[in-house]
Amino acid sequence: MTTDHHVTQAWPASAKPQTQAGQTEDDSAGRNRGVQPGKAVKQRTPLAERIWKVLVWGAMVFFLLNVLLLIATVAVNSVGTRWFGTLLPQGFTLHWYAQAWSDFQLASVLWVTVEVVGAVVILSVLLGVPAAYALARVQFPGKRFAVLVFLLPLMVPPVTYGIPMATVMYKVGLAGTLPGVILANLVPALPFVILVMTPFIEQIDPNLEAAARIFGANTFRYFRYVLLPLLVPGMLAAGLLVLVRTIGMFELTFFTAGPGTQTLVVALYYAVFSTGVRAPQSIDAMAMIYMAITLVWVLIALQFVSPTQIVSRVKEQKR
C-alpha cells in the first residue's frame, strides 16, 4: 500500500511541469496516442483528470444521496399524518407503528422470522463446518464434484430453482410448513457457510493436531480444546453473514411459505402488493421495523466481516 501512495503523489508532480497554457487538449486525443508512452504523458492534462474525477465522484455521491433519500422517504412517511405533494407531511405521529403491529400481525410474523433465521443459522453452521473441514483437509474421491454441487446453489438464482423446489415441497406436503421454509432457506445458506469456512480452516496449522496428539489428546479433546476455539471466529462470521442474508431472502420464502409461515420480508411484499387495502404509512412503518432489524444485524456483522463478504463469497484480498 505504501508504494501505491508514493506513486499517486508522483503523477501530478510529473505531469505539472509539462502543462502549458492552451494545451488543454481533448482527453480522447491523449487516449488515442496511448501507444507511445513518451508523447502521451505530455498531452495528459490535469484538467481532464480533474473533470474525470468530478464525474466519478459525482456519480457515486448522486447514487448514495438517492439511496439515502429513498430510505428517508420511508422513515418520514411512517411517522407522517397526511403527505401529498409537499416537501414534508402536515404533521407527525407514531400511531402508524401501533396500527402496523396489529394490521399485519407483526408479533407472529416476527416470531416466525426469528424461528426461521435462527434455525437456518444453526443448521447451516452445524452441517457446513464439518463439510468445510473435509474439503479443506482431506483429499477424497469426488471432491471436485462435491465443490461443484456446493457452488451451484450460489450461482443459480433462487427464482430459477425455487419453482421446481416448491413443486417438490407441495408434493411431499412440506410447503407452507415451518420446516419447509427452513429447509428452503438452507439451500443457499449451507453452501455459503461451506465456502466461507473452507479457506478459514485451510489457514489453521495442521501441525496443531499432531502436537495435540503427542500430548495425549484424543479426537474429542483435540476438537474441544484445540480446533473448536480456533474455529469460533470463522463460525461467528459465517453465521452472521447467513443471518443477514436470510432475513432478506425473499424468493425462496415467498414460494414455500403459507399464510402462517410468512417471514417479515414476505409479509412486507404482500403489504406493498395490496397497497390500498392498508394505509401506506402503516406499510412504511412495517418497512421501518424490517429495516431496523436488518441494519442492526448488518452493523453487528460489519464488526467481524468486510462489506464485500456480505455480497459474495469472494475472499477479501490480504492487504
Binding site: A40, N66, E251, F273
Partner: protein, 292 residues
C-alpha cells in the same frame, strides 16, 4: 453420496472425508433432485399433449415467449450500467482509505435491505408526488410529468439500486487484489494513469469483470419482486419469473411452471456461456491475475 459410490482402490482413505456427506446429501436432496424432478415434470404436461407440449405452448403463446425479450431488455442494460459504472468508481477507490470504508459500508445497505424494501421506498420516493420528481420540477430540470413508477423505468432503476452496489463491491475486491507495484513500475517507465489502467489493470481485471458481469446478469435476469411492485406486471415488465410464478401459484400448473423455469435457466446459461466465451476470444492469459 459421491464419496461412497466412486470409491477407487485407495488403500488408506481418510475417514474424515465422510464429514462432507451430510451437507452433500442435503444439497442433492433439496437442490439437485428438485431440479431433475422439475426437468422431468416439464416433459409431462398437465393437460396432456406430447412430450414437448409445455415448451411448444411457451414459445407460441403471445403472453409467454415475449417475456424472454422483456427480461433481456431489463437485464442487459442493467448489467452494462452496473458493471460499466463500477469499473471507474472501483478504480478511483482502489486505495485503502477512509472513503473506501465509508462508501463500501453505505453501499452494503441497499444490498442487504433487499428488493422488496427498495421497491416500497421507490414507490414513494419516485412516485408522482415523491421527493425525486419534486426536486426535478423544483430545479426546472424536467417540467413535464415525471413517471418513474409502474413502468419499465421503475424496474430498471430498482435493478440499478440493488445491482450496482453488488457489482461495485465485487469489482472493488478484484481491483484491490491487483498488486499496486505493477502500476508503479509502469509509472516509473512513464505510463500515465490512463495507460496504467488500460495496459496493467484492465488485462488483469478481465477475468474478474467477466465473473462480476455474469453474476450481475443472472441476478438481474431473475428479477421478481420489483417487476411486480414497481413495474407493470401485466404488460411492459412481465418478466419470465412472473410468468413462471403465475403458472405455478395461480394456475397450479407446476408442469408448465417448471418448463418456464428451465427455459429461464437455459437462457441464463446461454448468456453466461457467451460472456465466458467472449472473454476467451478477446483475452488469453492467466486466469488469476494479480499477486506475485
Amino acid at each position: 453420496m459421491n464419496a461412497g459410490t466412486l470409491s477407487p482402490p485407495v488403500a488408506a482413505r481418510d475417514p474424515k472425508g465422510w464429514l462432507v456427506a451430510p451437507a452433500l446429501i442435503f444439497i442433492v436432496a433439496l437442490f439437485i433432485y428438485p431440479f431433475a424432478y422439475g426437468l422431468v415434470l416439464s416433459f409431462q404436461p398437465m393437460n396432456g399433449g406430447g412430450l414437448w407440449a409445455n415448451y411448444v405452448a411457451f414459445f407460441t403463446d403471445t403472453s409467454m415467449w415475449p417475456t424472454i425479450l422483456v427480461t433481456l431488455k431489463l437485464a442487459v442494460p442493467a448489467t452494462l450500467i452496473n458493471v460499466g459504472v463500477s469499473i471507474p468508481v472501483a478504480f478511483a477507490l482502489r486505495r485503502n482509505s477512509p472513503y473506501q470504508k465509508l462508501v463500501t459500508t453505505l453501499l452494503v445497505i441497499p444490498v442487504t435491505l433487499g428488493t422488496v424494501l427498495i421497491a416500497d421506498g421507490m414507490l414513494t420516493y419516485f412516485g408522482p408526488n415523491g421527493w425525486f420528481p419534486q426536486a426535478l420540477q423544483g430545479l426546472h430540470l424536467y417540467t413535464n410529468e415525471v413517471r418513474l413508477t409502474h413502468n419499465y423505468w421503475g424496474v430498471l432503476i430498482s435493478l440499478i439500486v440493488s445491482g450496482f452496489p453488488f457489482a461495485f463491491l465485487l469489482t472493488l475486491s478484484y481491483v484491490t487484489g491487483i498488486d499496486p507495484t505493477l502500476a508503479s513500475a509502469a509509472a516509473t517507465l512513464g505510463a500515465s494513469p490512463w495507460q496504467q489502467f488500460l495496459r496493467i489493470y484492465l488485462p488483469l481485471l478481465v477475468p474478474g469483470l467477466t465473473m462480476a458481469a455474469c453474476l450481475s446478469f443472472v441476478q438481474a435476469f431473475s428479477v421478481f419482486p420489483s417487476a411486480v411492485l414497481l413495474g407493470a406486471p401485466a404488460g411492459p415488465t412481465r418478466v419470465m419469473s412472473i410468468a413462471a410464478a403465475e403458472a405455478a401459484f395461480e394456475n397450479y400448473d407446476y408442469s408448465l411452471a417448471s418448463a418456464i423455469a428451465m427455459v429461464m435457466g437455459f437462457v441464463q446459461l446461454l448468456v453466461v456461456a457467451g460472456m465466458l466465451g467472449a472473454r476467451r476470444f478477446f483475452y488469453s492469459g492467466p486466469v488469476t491475475g494479480g499477486k506475485g
